[in-house]
């Protein structure tokens, strides 16, 4: 009897653990326009071309209005069950993480931590959904008012998944800080309503991801190689048709060396009730290509929840 209860308890815990889809992370990032127009920018000379990039650290350290708006938005999103990733904290963490990695060594041999150039490149602040924010304080005679633009961008598909924008009521009595707070309160419900529709669509029609198939150089075959009378690219397309939700995907571009898939709808959960992301979904294609008649090695490269690459020919 005791064993039966234990079994039921274990079953319950396992079900509740695997019953949830992977939760996207959200981060508020001031828009390029906001940073550059206020002088929070860095200038580079890229082989004779002047490149201006936003300096988020400078913006977050010196702009109190920006901090106020981000803090207000974080509070609201936290109440809705989506605590935001804090950009400032993320930048600090990355800086200390880099220093710690450089200092870390093995106790026995003194070896350092392995880090390829790609690993180093991947150590940047990122999230699955970016809340691209900009606002401006404006005057109309003695009255102040705020224009506010908030865009929710899917970091992988680059699609605008939710947005809210507008101009607040001009006021001569209220302080600018109060108008900023009012702007956040005025637009967040509309923004969250759209975000909710985006999530509902993902649960109904699958998560939208981007996939790239690429070849390693000099492996002796390409995507035009024939297997059982069909080209490898055709076989891959057939696999996509069978494994996407309602066969929904779009082959954006292709040559003998690459295939670029967009609007690929993958299920949020697999048959075992486990959460699926781009990497875990594409791993099944990797396994499929390892079997007969293909028997090929491949490297699976993850670019976040919503994008993965499969590079064929070698590990």
């Amino acid at each position: 009897m005791k064993n039966l209860f234990t079994l039921i308890a274990i079953l319950f815990v396992t079900t509740s653990l695997f019953g949830q889809a992977k939760k996207p992370t959200i981060m508020v990032v001031p828009s390029d326009q906001y940073c550059i127009s206020r002088g929070y920018s860095m200038e580079f000379d890229n082989m004779g071309t002047k490149v201006i990039l936003p300096d988020y650290k400078a913006a977050l350290q010196s702009d109190t209005d920006l901090r106020l708006v981000i803090s207000k938005m974080s509070g609201i999103m936290g109440d809705r069950g989506f605590p935001l990733k804090d950009l400032e904290q993320e930048l600090k963490n990355l800086a200390t993480q880099g220093a710690e990695l450089a200092m870390l060594s093995s106790k026995t041999s003194g070896a350092g931590v392995a880090e390829s150039p790609i690993d180093a490149l991947k150590r940047t602040a990122k999230s699955d959904i970016i809340m691209d924010l900009s606002f401006e304080k404006k005057k109309q005679g003695p009255k102040n008012y705020i224009t506010f633009i908030l865009n929710g961008l899917d970091a992988y598909t680059s699609k605008n998944v939710a947005s809210a924008a507008g101009t607040g009521q001009p006021s001569s009595a209220a302080q600018v800080e109060i108008l900023l707070e009012e702007a956040v309160l005025a637009y967040m419900d509309e923004f969250n309503g759209r975000l909710m529709s985006f999530f509902e669509d993902a649960f109904a029609n699958g998560r939208e991801i981007k996939v790239r198939i690429q070849m390693f150089d000099g492996v002796g075959f390409d995507l035009e190689e024939e297997y059982d009378g069909s080209e490898l690219s055709e076989k891959i397309e057939d696999w996509f048709a069978e494994n996407t939700v309602q066969g929904r995907f779009s082959l954006q571009d292709a040559t003998e060396n690459f295939m670029q898939f967009e609007q690929v709808r993958i299920p949020m959960m697999n048959d075992k009730g486990r959460a699926v992301d781009a990497r875990s979904w594409l791993r099944d294609l990797q396994k499929y290509l390892k079997e007969d008649p293909f028997t090929m090695e491949s490297k699976l490269y993850m670019r976040g929840l919503g994008e993965a690459w499969l590079i064929l020919g070698e590990k």
Partner: protein, 171 residues
């Protein structure tokens, strides 16, 4: 021949009258519909609240005021609150068009006289409404009141009761 014309005329008249009667009945049903709530946003509410003017119908002014309060909460759940005076539109709390029938028992109790919905009406001008907000109609009054509702609290309550999905549900 003349008799034939007379009968045709009477028949036509009957059709017109019955059509008209039906439309009047439909109109009456439409008045009672939760989708016919008249709202005007009055501004951006404080944290988690919504501020708007809502109208209600009743035989007496007090009945109309009570119906207006019920309409305020009903609009927030089923219809959404329109944009206005610096506030952007607030979508309806339920995204399921069949929510009312699916959770009929819950809503019947929630919207009953003195029901839980009143908990989310923070502030209402339910004293004697201004003359301009009190319109005498053929069989009663149409009354407009300014209300502030606890929108965040209402959403949380409906999420906890499983009536609506939360933003993070499924994750």
């Amino acid at each position: 021949m003349t008799r034939k014309i007379q009968i045709t005329f009477i028949l036509l008249l009957a059709i017109v009258v019955s059509t008209n009667a039906q439309s009047r009945k439909e109109r009456k049903a439409y008045y009672g519909s939760k989708y016919n709530v008249e709202i005007e946003t009055l501004g951006v509410g404080n944290d988690g609240t919504k501020l708007f003017k809502v109208w209600g119908y009743g035989k007496k002014v007090n009945d109309a005021v009570f119906e207006a309060k019920r309409n305020a909460i009903s609009a927030a759940i089923f219809k959404g609150i329109p944009a206005g005076r610096g506030a952007s539109p607030t979508p309806a709390l339920t995204t399921d068009i069949d929510a009312e029938t699916k959770h009929q028992e819950f809503f019947d109790e929630f919207f009953s006289d003195g029901g839980r919905y009143l908990q989310f009406v923070n502030l209402s001008g339910d004293g004697e409404p201004k003359e301009s907000d009190k319109i005498k109609m053929k069989k009663g009054y149409k009354v407009g009141i300014a209300v502030s509702i606890n929108h965040a609290g209402l959403r949380k309550y409906l999420e906890d009761k499983g009536v609506i999905r939360s933003l993070s549900s499924g994750f």
